[in-house]
């Protein structure tokens, strides 16, 4: 074990340096910094097959079971005069229907896409929240696969909606050749629009979500393991830092819960906007 310096300023620098050292050496005990390898845990089951099952999938499985159970049982027991639990579920459903779908698409067009937006919102919200749920401790959306699947679903839906509304040619024309522009500008605009519609929109949906969840997890793990280190393992002169990082851990947990809801909201709002861009007459 290293001998800890007693000067406070020196100790801070020393801590940062030491953690790197310890992390690099992978030594037992001491400060455990968060690592990208958190998102690539070793397989639990079916190692080496396409069904390789690791801790992330386990978290997703738990969340899926909980969400499906809550909503299916909730729907079964739904009554004309709602109870407390039903009120909460209806609050979520109404939020997506009114504040996202109808707000963006208009009441008439929204009807068709409310199930899609509701499903995606609830799935993302639940999988995000698992990042601050004890024992789960990692967001199901913090590994790129799930955001990609959801973004692909939205991508297929908005392409399909556009083609159904305008026909294949009509959709490509309205998407790639925005009206009201001098023809020679299409040399510039059409590649940009093509990239936007076919690459940037789905890619940003997936990356924004996964990046938020990854950074949230890293920050939370950082302050929590720092707290553990300061309070348990560090010398007496460093214990006070533990209180600071503990406060930060509390604040970040709340912040991550907020981010979980915010990212779910952003994802469905953008999905609704993309759908609307595809089906509207001129844009």
């Amino acid at each position: 074990m290293l001998r800890w310096p007693t000067h406070p300023q020196e100790s801070a620098l020393f801590t940062a340096a030491t953690t790197q050292l310890l992390a690099a050496s992978g030594g037992g005990g001491g400060f455990q910094p968060p690592s990208i390898s958190d998102f690539f845990p070793p397989p639990i089951l079916f190692a080496g097959t396409p069904f390789e099952f690791n801790r992330i999938q386990l978290v997703r499985l738990v969340v899926t079971v909980v969400v499906v159970t809550v909503f299916v049982v909730g729907a079964r027991r739904a009554k004309l005069v709602p109870g407390r639990g039903q009120n909460i579920l209806e609050l979520v459903l109404d939020f997506v229907r009114v504040n996202v779908a109808e707000e963006v698409l208009g009441t008439e067009k929204a009807k068709k896409y409310v199930p899609l937006l509701t499903t995606i919102f609830v799935a993302i919200l639940a999988l995000n929240i698992s990042g601050v749920v004890p024992l789960l401790n990692i967001a199901g959306t913090s590994v790129i696969g799930l955001p990609i699947v959801l973004a692909a679903w939205v991508f297929v839906m908005y392409l399909g909606a556009g083609i159904r509304a305008h026909g294949l040619g009509g959709f490509l024309r309205t998407s790639l050749f925005p009206p009201g522009v001098p023809p020679y500008m299409y040399v510039l605009l059409t590649p940009i629009e093509f990239l936007t519609v076919f690459v940037i929109r789905p890619a940003t949906l997936a990356i924004r979500l996964v990046a938020n969840m990854i950074s949230g997890h890293l920050m939370l793990v950082l302050v929590i393991s720092a707290t553990e280190f300061f309070l348990v393992e560090a010398g007496p002169s460093l214990k006070a830092y533990g209180l600071v990082t503990f406060g930060a851990a509390l604040a970040l947990t709340l912040f991550e819960a907020f981010i979980a809801a915010l990212q779910a909201y952003i994802f469905v709002v953008l999905a609704a906007v993309y759908l609307n861009l595809s089906i509207q007459e001129e844009h």
Binding site: A12, S37, F53, V67, L80, V143, V149
Partner: protein, 188 residues
């Protein structure tokens, strides 16, 4: 310090995988979980809530419609009762008016009958009085004539024995008497 650690961790993670490139199993499981959630939502959860929502809307609309119809019925009933009440009032006034007229007629009739009766009684009385007067007068004429003749005979002697003269004298006397009586009645 955080930045340092984060940079360090990202660099350190080179071996474990790229955060933007999914492994095959990632996509497989993600698709399975999303499919499960989507199936449960599309098949059970959302239709279940939608059903309750529609039912609630229908119930509320039904309630409003029912309230409207009840209100309309109440309005109609009120109108009907008001109308009936007005009719009853009008009829009562009519009956009262008729009764008043009838009463007046009855009173007038009775009064006329009473008047007639009174007149009749009066006339009968007068006629009876007249008859009695005639009778008295006839009796008196006979009696007074006899008595006066007897008295006059006694006074004048036998000069008036002649029947004709006697009768003439008595008649003249009575006529005078009658005339004086008539004058005294008139003078009253």
């Amino acid at each position: 310090m955080i930045a340092t650690v984060l940079t360090g961790t990202v660099l350190a993670a080179e071996g474990s995988g790229n955060i933007l490139v999914p492994a095959g199993s990632e996509i497989v499981w993600s698709t399975i979980f999303v499919a499960i959630i989507a199936f449960a939502f599309y098949r059970y959860a959302l239709p279940g809530f939608q059903k309750v929502l529609d039912e609630r809307t229908a119930r509320i609309e039904g309630g409003i419609a029912k309230a409207d119809s009840v209100q309309a019925e109440a309005d109609a009933a009120l109108a009907r009762y008001t109308k009936e009440l007005n009719e009853a009032r009008a009829e009562a006034a009519h009956i009262r008016e008729e009764a008043r007229i009838e009463g007046n007629a009855i009173v007038a009739d009775l009064r006329a009958k009473a008047q007639e009766e009174a007149n009749r009684i009066l006339e009968t009385g007068l006629r009876q009085i007249e008859a009695e007067r005639q009778q008295v007068m006839v009796t008196l004429r006979a009696d007074v004539g006899v008595l006066a003749t007897q008295l006059a005979s006694k006074i004048v002697g036998e000069s008036l024995d002649d029947e004709v003269r006697q009768s003439r004298v008595v008649d003249r006397f009575l006529d005078e008497l009658e005339a004086s009586t008539a004058v005294s009645i008139k003078g009253k």
